[in-house]
């Protein structure tokens, strides 16, 4: 048996990093819009007007790529089985130092919920962003509501992304490899996603 | 104005009728609001609920052209309820005069006064004469009880103007009528002031002059003339129309309201004899008795050294009118369309838009050989030959358009409605090739003089003998540019020789003993000095004065019009040291009528002047008027020897309730406009003003009227809007203003709109028998249908500031208006005519 198995193919990885890059571009360009506290971030882009322009462009890229990514993985991330419920009930074992064992497929429920959330946030941020883009073309109340929603969704997103980054890096050593190289170590796969590991390798439990 | 703009703040009741100051004289509302702040009530009477009406305490609608009925009803109300100011009426008006026993009034003569000749369409004013005593003085009944006295005749005449009948004629609900009457006549108390503000809404009718007369009668009955916050105040339609009228703009007057001589007055003696009223009343100042001084000084001003006693001061060179000739606006274009005029200067005007019955005006212009248009911008007149429906190739008129400078591009004086002549300075240089009017006239004069000198012609002296010292002269005698101060000084007048001050002796007064030899002569003025006031002018050629009412405006103390003093010691806003007003800086004319016969103000709180019998005078005597410049220094009337009556411009010294000088009746009477929605005049059998000229010539197809005609069932009126000025030549070329009012509109009541299936904003066609225009329908509750007699009459209105020359704004509203003019002034009747209206497309 090989030490490595493929978790994400090249196009999946590229897509993810496009989403990631556009997300962080949005973050950096949006920070100045979020609050005057972060006004300095505008200088990264040569001023607020450019920042807004880049925010709009990266917004389109993020909106399309993020939703595309979701639909790519839709099958894998929208179904929850009995094992998943178990995982949820025990919070994935993240609240305990003890080792935990869940019979998890390619994605654990946390990842699934994160994917669903990001998809929904993408949709909301995109639509509200459109209203904010051209506020004079829409009724004022829609734009006002959009500004609030956009802000709210951003706050939620950034918090989830912090968790996502943590869990994908130092929180779960070895995970990042999936996104960097596409391959994960078999050991890692067996530990975190045993059901998937068996599916891929044909190994019997 | 008898009063002035700021004085409006002193009123207790302000009647706005025949005007729309909020829209057309916005600055006046500064003072109207100040009056309101002090508790005054504002009444607006208008066919349409205007922006002025929006600020009124009381608004009453009336059908256009029925003001005399409305106001006649007020006279009736005042007299029936004895609300008049009896002391004032008895002392200061001709109410006590007895009219001849044969005099009959419209109530007895089917709407006519005695003396009417239907063939000539005119009255013989002799039928309206007063009863005379043996010494030629007028018989009076100071008790005002004699049935032939003016007061009783007036009472009888206006007793026909019952609220019920007035309401049937005007369409004003009876309760509104009575409310207006009650409120306004509350100013008949000695300490109350009512003012009236009018403009073209009163003048532009075939009964225009009588509209104002009716109000004058009311003001006299209530004692509102001569007082602060009173008067009868014409809001002039242009910044300087007062000035241009003062300076002889109209065909029948020379500068200073001297009549243009008629050709049958062969010399100054005949002229003076004809135009100098006489009075044997020792209490009458009869100021027009000085006519000779003003005429001769005027001739000396225009002909200078060329005017000598021997050549009758050049009187023969003055242009004359043929006896009975009328050179008014309507006649100019009537003669033009009949091919009687070769050339025409349209100077600062746009008759192809402003002229009533514009089609006639436009067709008339095509009959000219040449036309010179002087204006800031190209306009409908200068470009008439390429106007809508005009076959340019067939127009032979040669047109010259001279670009003129705007008011801020030149220096000079502007006389406002309150008679204040204010000096203005040049702010910027004229743009491009445009030049000040005076410069254009100057060049024109030089060229004409040159041609007349070279080629001769009919009476070249008329032109070549004019003095023309309006600036620095080059060696060859030509003037580089016009010095407008020189013009102003010529208007003010000069002492041409030393003039000694010799007091005039009263009849029977002994000449004072000759002063001891060696005493220096007391001088009125030295040769070359500017005259100090019209009292100094002489009839023997020793003084010059271009316009006697402006004498003092630019004297040895300097340019009085440029003064900017802000002192207001009375608190009445007279600001006597701000600019200068004619006559002799008198801010409220006939101000002696604000006091009783002893010189005590009727209203102590708002005293314009008062008589101080103890004030020391330079000649050792005592007694002087304090306050505004009084109408003459004489003591008040109670002083039987020296005292004078207050209305000094009237030969008899009193105001005329009964006015035999009018062409269409000594009392105003209601007649229908030339185009009326009614088959009959509800007041009498006489439908229209019997003395108006009827324009009826088979060759002038444009002159048509359609009264009581089913095709044109709606009363219409034209007006101005705040956003545009006159025909809009200046304002339509100002994009900011076009933004505010971008297109011709027509205001229509909700009821009429419903009837005609017109929605707000629809394009409609408005037509009269003379033409049609397109407009945006403005459907508004501010117009309401009138109940006239037993029928419902709708009225519509539209502004006249648009013309085809500005793309997309629509053509002139005056295409609809009739050729019909007032009996006295010939001002066109553009405020009441008949139209049809239909939704377009």
């Amino acid at each position: 048996m090989s030490n490595y198995i493929e978790r994400f193919n090249t196009s999946e990885r590229v897509l993810h990093w496009i989403v990631t890059a556009s997300f962080f571009t949005l973050l950096l360009t949006g920070l100045g819009l979020y609050s005057t506290l972060f006004n300095g971030y505008f200088t990264l882009f040569g001023g607020g007007r450019n920042a807004i322009l880049i925010h709009k462009i990266s917004g389109i890229i993020f909106f399309l790529s993020s939703l595309y990514m979701f639909f790519n993985h839709q099958k894998d991330v929208t179904g929850f089985d009995q094992d998943d419920k178990q995982w949820i009930a025990e919070r994935g074992g993240y609240l305990s130092r003890n080792a935990s064992h869940f019979n998890i497929g390619k994605y654990n429920p946390g990842q699934k919920l994160f994917a669903i959330f990001i998809a929904a946030a993408t949709l909301l941020l995109g639509v509200t962003g459109l209203f904010i883009w051209a506020p004079t073309m829409f009724p004022r109340w829609i734009v006002q509501l959009s500004l609030m929603t956009h802000g709210l969704m951003f706050v939620c997103s950034i918090m989830f992304v912090v968790v996502h980054v943590y869990l994908a890096t130092i929180g779960n050593p070895g995970t990042i490899e999936a996104m960097l190289y596409g391959d994960v170590r078999s050991l890692w796969a067996r530990k975190h996603h045993p059901k998937w590991y068996r599916e891929v390798t044909g190994e019997k439990p | 104005m008898t009063n002035h703009w700021i004085d409006v703040k002193n009123a207790d009741v302000i009647l706005i009728m025949g005007a729309n100051p909020a829209e057309n004289h916005p600055i006046s509302f500064r003072w109207i609001m100040k009056a309101k702040d002090a508790g005054a009530k504002v009444i607006v009477v208008d066919p349409r609920f205007t922006r002025s009406a929006s600020k009124a305490d009381l608004y009453a609608p009336l059908r256009s052209g029925t003001d005399i009925a409305f106001l006649g009803g007020m006279i009736n109300y005042i007299l029936q309820n004895k609300l008049h100011f009896e002391e004032y009426v008895k002392n200061y008006t001709n109410a006590a005069y007895l009219v001849n026993a044969d005099f009959k009034m419209p109530g007895d003569l089917n709407g006519l006064f005695s003396g009417y000749d239907p063939k000539k369409r005119s009255y013989d004013p002799k039928a309206w004469s007063f009863q005379k005593n043996a010494d030629e003085s007028v018989k009076k009944d100071p008790t005002l009880q004699d049935p032939q006295c003016v007061f009783q005749l007036m009472k009888k005449h206006y007793s026909r103007y019952t609220p019920e009948l007035v309401s049937r004629i005007t369409g004003t609900p009876k309760d509104k009528l009575l409310e207006v009457y009650k409120l306004y006549s509350s100013t008949g108390k000695p300490d109350k002031a009512g003012t009236e503000l009018y403009a073209m809404g009163w003048t532009q009718h075939t009964v225009g002059t009588q509209n104002i007369r009716t109000m004058s009668i009311i003001q006299l009955l209530l004692g509102n003339v001569g007082i602060a916050g009173g008067g009868i105040n014409a809001l002039r339609g242009e910044g300087n129309v007062q000035g241009s009228t003062d300076h002889g703009l109209l065909f029948h007057i020379l500068p200073g309201y001297l009549p243009v001589p008629s050709a049958d007055l062969k010399d100054t003696a005949a002229y003076i004899e004809k135009h100098t009223p006489k009075s044997k009343d020792p209490q009458s100042a009869n100021w027009w008795g000085n006519r000779n001084k003003y005429l001769v000084s005027y001739l000396k001003a225009i002909y200078g050294a060329k005017a000598t006693r021997e050549n009758d001061y050049g009187y023969n060179w003055l242009p004359k009118l043929d006896p009975g000739m009328n050179g008014s606006w309507l006649m100019i274009f009537d003669n033009m369309i009949k091919g009687k005029l070769k050339g025409f200067f349209a100077w600062g005007q746009n008759p192809a838009c402003s002229g009533t019955n514009t089609t006639k005006v436009r067709n008339a212009l095509a009959k000219l050989e040449w036309m010179v248009a002087v204006n800031l911008f190209d306009n409908e007149t200068a470009s008439f030959w390429k106007g809508p429906g005009v076959d340019s190739a067939s127009v032979k008129t040669e047109v010259f358009l001279l670009p003129a400078a705007a008011s801020f591009e030149k220096e000079g004086s502007i006389s406002n409605s309150g008679r204040w002549a204010q000096w203005r300075y040049k702010a910027v240089n004229p743009l491009g090739q445009s030049r000040a009017d005076a410069e254009i006239i100057h060049d024109l004069y030089q060229k004409l003089k040159e041609l007349y000198s070279k080629e001769g012609g009919a009476l070249p002296e008329q032109l070549t003998n004019l003095t023309w010292n309006y600036g620095f002269k080059r060696a060859d005698g030509s003037i580089r540019s016009v010095d407008i101060h020189a013009v102003a000084k010529e208007i003010n007048g000069y002492f041409l020789e030393d003039v000694e001050d010799i007091p005039k002796l009263k009849p029977g007064e002994k000449a004072p003993p000759p002063p001891p030899p060696g005493t220096p002569k007391k001088m009125l003025g030295k040769k070359g000095e500017l005259a100090g006031g019209f009292a100094q002018l002489q009839a023997d050629g020793r003084t010059s004065c271009g316009n006697w009412i402006y004498c003092q405006s630019y004297n040895e103390k300097g340019n009085m019009m440029a003064r900017r003093g802000k002192k207001d010691p009375t608190g009445l806003g007279m600001f006597s040291e701000w600019s200068w007003c004619w006559p002799v800086n008198r801010r409220i004319i006939y101000n002696r009528a604000s006091c009783d016969v002893n010189g005590k103000p009727f209203n102590l709180k708002k005293a314009v002047v008062y008589w101080n019998p103890n004030a020391p005078l330079p000649n050792g005597k005592t007694g002087a008027w304090i306050g505004d410049v009084p109408d003459g220094p004489w003591p008040p009337m109670a002083d039987e020897k020296e005292g004078k009556k207050p209305f000094i411009m009237r030969a008899d010294g009193v105001a005329a309730i009964f006015a035999p000088g009018m062409k269409d009746g000594p009392f105003p009477e209601h007649y229908e406009p030339m185009e009326s929605p009614l088959p009959d005049n509800l007041m009498s059998k006489q439908m229209n003003n019997p003395a108006v000229k009827i324009f009826k010539d088979a060759n002038v197809k444009e002159d048509v009227l359609a009264s009581n005609d089913a095709r044109f069932p709606y009363v219409a009126s034209t007006y101005r809007v705040t956003e545009h000025w006159q025909t809009g030549v200046m304002t339509r070329n100002t994009p900011w203003l076009l933004e505010l009012q971008p297109r011709q509109f027509c205001e229509i009541s909700l009821e009429l709109a419903r009837e005609k299936g017109i929605n707000n904003g629809d394009t409609v066609e408005i037509s009269s028998v003379r033409g049609k225009i397109e407009a945006v329908a403005m459907v508004t509750p501010r117009f309401k249908p009138f109940k006239i007699g037993d029928k419902i009459v709708h009225e519509v209105g539209m502004p006249w500031c648009f013309g085809w020359h500005t793309p997309g704004v629509g053509d002139a509203a005056n295409l609809l208006t009739p050729t019909a003019g007032d009996a006295n002034t010939m001002i066109p009747e553009t405020k009441a005519f008949m139209v049809g209206i239909a939704r377009k497309g």
């Binding site: 819009l33 005057t36 607020g48 609030m148 709210l152 950034i158 968790v163 | 933004e739 501010r782």
Partner: protein, 263 residues
């Protein structure tokens, strides 16, 4: 960012609608002083034109006709930036100095600093800010250059009837209160810099009865944003805490394989 106002020094305008004759001198004087182009308009069956504020129209008169039981009224309202004491536009503006308050209390703006985000459009309780052809904010700035030079704003200067009265705001308010005028904007939004004396209920003039910054804008700016920052740092803190208390889930722990390539 905090928008504070010195009420005592505040200059303002009191629009006494009972004095307005709808002459629109204010509208034109404003264009003249601010060198604004004319807008192309059409007559839509009313005197009112333009029908709304534009980037080239900072101030206009609304013409309001009513006709109840035969009694017609025609009222005129000066429609323009109210220079709120608590200004939604300043609150949301992300570009420091683009929208700011002068020492006179004027809500001013600097087009150079405007980044065209248009947040102010949504945050304004009165829907005032417009964006010009360069996509920069345009609105009444109370002629702040004139005011700082000791003059009155162009609209107040041109007003013939003293409808638009400029001066110390508290004094204007005190005078109007003494004259028993019905005031609008005396206290709303910490007092409107352009307050009104009305002749009827505000709704008749097309004014909100209780003007305020829209609640969604309030929630966004005053609740979500500060909480969001807290949340962001909170989530990072939580992760760090997790790392040191519970620790990462190392694959090697389970399987005792020392093969970590990437740590």
């Amino acid at each position: 960012m905090a928008d504070t106002i010195n009420q005592a020094a505040r200059k303002g305008i009191l629009v006494d609608t009972a004095r307005c004759i709808g002459c629109r001198s204010c509208q034109v004087a404003c264009k003249q002083w601010n060198k604004l182009d004319a807008d192309k308009t059409v007559n839509q069956g009313t005197f009112e034109n333009p029908r709304d504020l534009t980037p080239a129209l900072y101030n206009r008169i609304r013409f309001i006709e009513t006709d109840s039981s035969g009694e017609v009224t025609w009222r005129f309202l000066n429609d323009r930036c109210m220079h709120c004491g608590d200004a939604g536009c300043i609150k949301v503006c992300p570009s420091p100095g683009a929208l700011y308050r002068t020492k006179d209390g004027i809500v001013a703006y600097n087009k150079e600093k405007c980044i065209s985000c248009k947040y102010c459009v949504s945050a304004c309780p009165f829907n005032i800010p417009r964006y010009d052809k360069d996509d920069k904010i345009s609105k009444c700035n109370l002629c702040l250059e004139r005011v700082s030079g000791g003059m009155t704003p162009a609209c107040a200067k041109a007003c013939p009837t003293e409808t638009i009265k400029f001066g110390n705001r508290s004094q204007l308010i005190a005078k109007a209160t003494a004259a028993k005028k019905t005031l609008y904007g005396e206290n709303d939004l910490l007092g409107l810099g352009v307050a009104y004396a009305l002749e009827g209920p505000p709704e008749q003039y097309g004014l909100p009865a209780k003007p305020g910054i829209p609640s969604s804008i309030f929630l966004w700016k005053d609740v979500i944003k500060p909480l969001g920052i807290l949340g962001f740092w909170g989530s990072i803190g939580a992760m760090l805490l997790h790392y040191v208390t519970i620790g990462p889930k190392k694959v090697d722990d389970d399987l005792n394989v020392k093969e970590d390539r990437h740590e």
